[in-house]
């Protein structure tokens, strides 16, 4: 199928109109109203395999990624056992290839068994194909060990992806500390728990000159620290998560208004689907993250896709696991934010393609996705491909849907119902 004269945006956010071919058949259809983007790259997803296959597997996660428009996905290492050996790195990549969905890249643990005490064999892991190192889920608390990790990763030519959190300050917190946590009587995680860790990490990046990538930056203050580090010329990059761009801590109290809305329908308070780490922050933080995308402080939008089996979420708020299943809703949320005037489409596309490629130090693969930005769909256990149905967006209608995805020249996803109804290009021309 050839999409005639379709709107195409490249990885640098530039726009043009051209014909784009999907699959082998040569039927020309009208591309009007669709957008073709480079395949998206997700720097941050939990595919849960090995160890937590009831929540996700490499195969289901790779299919969910593709459905969400991500043709490349980085699998985090907090599995059981942790991805801390060359054999496991290779195995994850192999299972990814078998799935024939999104391309799966393996991130290896920084420390052995993610124990935070001794370095994993970083150079060997890089040789086995690890694209980056991360103990995500936990910060590397020992500053001296973190320094060694940055220096070794630098020698291995890979970035360290750090989960910045001061555990003494976050304590037993389960949501953002602020007016909403005060009202709900839930233990809070202050913004300072992230910001003080970001400040430490930036100082160590400066000391080592190594590449440091900060994961799921969620507060205005953290972003300001990254902005200053970049102005100093340090090799510091960062990512933000779609749920931090679109949802706020008011969701824990039952609000269902997106960060740019007011007065949307109300849900129930204490819904454990809103429990995520870093926690949903304030609307002011969300605005600061969007501003960071606009001025380039934010390098990547990464989903922190964290699927959980219902047994880990269908409990009271304090006992529930942290995490939102978000890889399939990410693009819709971001496009809705753009439509609401929070940001600009070109900048968002850069943060989903060229930005993450630069963080990894790789060139952009020749992947494509076709998006229908006006297509509405309802988030439900049935519409989500991921095994993780843990999203506070369940039941909500979102706008913007991927209707085809091409990886390595192969059409791996195509919604024929969405494409089939289009007029032929000749009819459109008449």
């Amino acid at each position: 199928m050839i999409l005639a004269h379709v709107r195409r945006i490249d990885a640098d956010g530039r726009e043009r109109r051209e014909d784009v071919r999907i699959g082998d058949d040569r039927e020309r259809v009208d591309g009007d109203g669709l957008v073709v983007l480079p395949g998206l790259i997700d720097l941050h997803a939990h595919l849960r395999e090995p160890g937590y296959e009831e929540s996700e597997t490499v195969a289901t996660g790779a299919r969910a990624a593709l459905r969400g428009g991500f043709t490349t996905v980085c699998a985090m290492a907090n599995t059981l056992p942790a991805i801390d050996s060359p054999g496991l790195v290779a195995e994850i990549a192999a299972r990814g290839r078998e799935a024939r969905a999104a391309r799966v890249l393996s991130v290896a643990a920084i420390t052995r068994g993610r124990n935070g005490r001794e370095l994993a064999d970083l150079i060997e892991l890089a040789r086995a194909g690890a694209v980056a190192f991360s103990d995500d889920g936990d910060p590397v608390e020992d500053a001296r060990l973190f320094r060694s990790a940055l220096e070794y990763a630098h020698a291995a030519g890979r970035p360290v992806l750090e989960h910045a959190q001061d555990r003494a300050l976050s304590g037993r917190g389960v949501m953002h500390e602020g007016a909403v946590s005060a009202d709900l009587g839930l233990p809070g995680i202050p913004a300072a728990a992230e910001e003080s860790a970001v400040a430490r990490d930036v100082a160590i990046a400066k000391l080592t000159g190594a590449r440091l990538h900060l994961q799921h930056v969620s507060t205005a203050g953290s972003l300001e620290l990254v902005r200053r580090a970049k102005a100093e010329g340090l090799q510091v990059t960062c990512e933000v998560a779609p749920h931090h761009l679109a949802l706020t801590d008011a969701w824990v109290a039952g609000s269902r208004a997106l960060a740019w809305e007011d007065g949307a329908p109300r849900g129930v308070a204490f819904d454990s689907a809103t429990k995520v780490n870093p926690p949903l922050r304030t609307a002011a933080d969300a605005r600061a993250l969007w501003a960071g995308i606009a001025d380039g402080t934010v390098d990547a939008i990464a989903t922190d896709h964290a699927p959980h089996a219902s047994v880990r979420k269908d409990v009271d708020y304090a006992d529930a696991a942290f995490g939102i299943s978000g890889i399939e809703t990410a693009l819709s949320l971001v496009l809705m934010g753009v439509a609401a005037g929070m940001g600009d489409l070109g900048a968002v596309v850069r943060a989903l393609t060229a930005g993450p490629a630069r963080v990894l130090g790789t060139s952009l693969p020749d992947d494509l996705i076709v998006v229908d930005p006006s297509r509405e769909w309802t988030v439900s256990a049935a519409t989500l491909v991921s095994k993780g149905k843990n999203t506070p967006l369940l039941g909500r209608t979102l706008r913007g849907r991927v209707i085809a995805a091409i990886v390595d020249g192969e059409t791996r996803y195509r919604d024929d119902a969405a494409l089939g109804g289009r007029r032929s290009a000749e009819a459109a021309a008449r």
């Binding site: 946590s181 009271d316 708020y317 304090a318």
Partner: protein, 314 residues
């Protein structure tokens, strides 16, 4: 009078003034029942009330039990120790079982903020929150409002001071969410580590103010509620010492004298005498602490009747 429409009592935060007054008005005849030689009325005969207390509690549990028995309801009590909760049975399994066993009204106490919301979404029983974590204790809020209304009359324009560990207090939150809709204002005072930071920095709920110095907070106040201080707050580094707390925030006779003449003193119990409240105050003429206990049974009777949909006979 409009029909009672709430299925659960989870928090009074979203209640109207009329709903709160409805409960307080229904509490008066209940108090009369409790004053009779035989403290029993058949209103809930044959109805099943289950008390599910996953966190230790003596007073609230006994109060609910007496309330249900005074209404002739069948009661069962499940506590954390000795139940299958200890064997790792999940909250959801337990409450579904209780419902299957015929619990029409489920009274639950939990250490986890929001647990009754989780349960109310998933069972057909009516759920009464008997205290969830730091979040809410709506029957305590209602009994405090009832006790204060009896002592002070209309609460509109009255200023009530709450002193102590507000951060960890479901009582403080429910007092705010009951007294403010009735027209009172609430002043909070306590150690800086035990007042939510957002509330110290001006992001206060409507009708609530914060005063660092307890003496200033008490000046010309209409009543004071002293909160219980858990000893583990000192162990976790939030307090230098209990002695210092008693000096700075303890309710003494001198401090009581700063309030309006006759202004009463309340405490949800159990008290640490000599820490948050002096014995002379706790047992003095201004103390309403014993009335709070009696009123608590009456308020819980009123709520059980409203939820069971049974008309109240005085």
């Amino acid at each position: 009078m409009t029909a009672w429409s709430r299925r659960h009592v989870l928090s009074t935060e979203d209640w109207t003034r009329e709903e709160i007054e409805r409960v307080l008005d229904q509490t008066e005849p209940m108090l009369e029942v409790l004053g009779r030689p035989i403290r029993r009325t058949p209103a809930l005969r044959g109805r099943t009330v289950v008390l599910f207390f996953a966190e230790a509690s003596t007073r609230t549990r006994m109060s609910f039990e007496l309330a249900a028995k005074a209404l002739s309801a069948d009661t069962s009590i499940i506590t954390a120790s000795g139940s299958s909760i200890e064997k790792g049975e999940t909250l959801l399994d337990t409450v579904r079982t209780l419902q299957a066993l015929g619990a029409e009204i489920l009274v639950m106490r939990s250490a986890a903020s929001g647990a009754p919301y989780f349960v109310a979404e998933r069972v057909t029983s009516a759920v009464i929150n008997a205290g969830d974590g730091w979040h809410a204790h709506p029957t305590q809020g209602l009994l405090d409002a009832f006790t204060l209304r009896r002592a002070l009359g209309d609460l509109a324009g009255k200023r009530i001071v709450i002193v102590g560990d507000v951060l960890h207090s479901r009582v403080a939150r429910s007092d705010i969410h009951t007294l403010v809709p009735l027209g009172a204002t609430v002043t909070l005072s306590g150690p800086p580590t035990l007042i939510p930071a957002a509330w110290r920095c001006g992001q206060l709920p409507p009708g609530v103010s914060h005063e660092e110095e307890v003496d200033r907070a008490l000046d010309a106040a209409d009543a004071v509620i002293a909160l219980r201080l858990q000893r583990e707050r000192q162990e976790s580094g939030l307090l230098p010492s209990l002695r210092e707390y008693a000096l700075e925030w303890g309710i003494t006779e001198e401090r009581v004298a700063r309030m309006r003449p006759g202004a009463p003193v309340l405490h949800p119990g159990p008290m640490n005498e000599g820490v948050e409240i002096d014995a002379a105050v706790a047992h003095g003429s201004r103390s309403l602490i014993e009335q709070q206990v009696t009123n608590g049974v009456a308020v819980r009777m009123a709520l059980l009747l409203l939820l069971a949909g049974t008309p109240v006979a005085a």
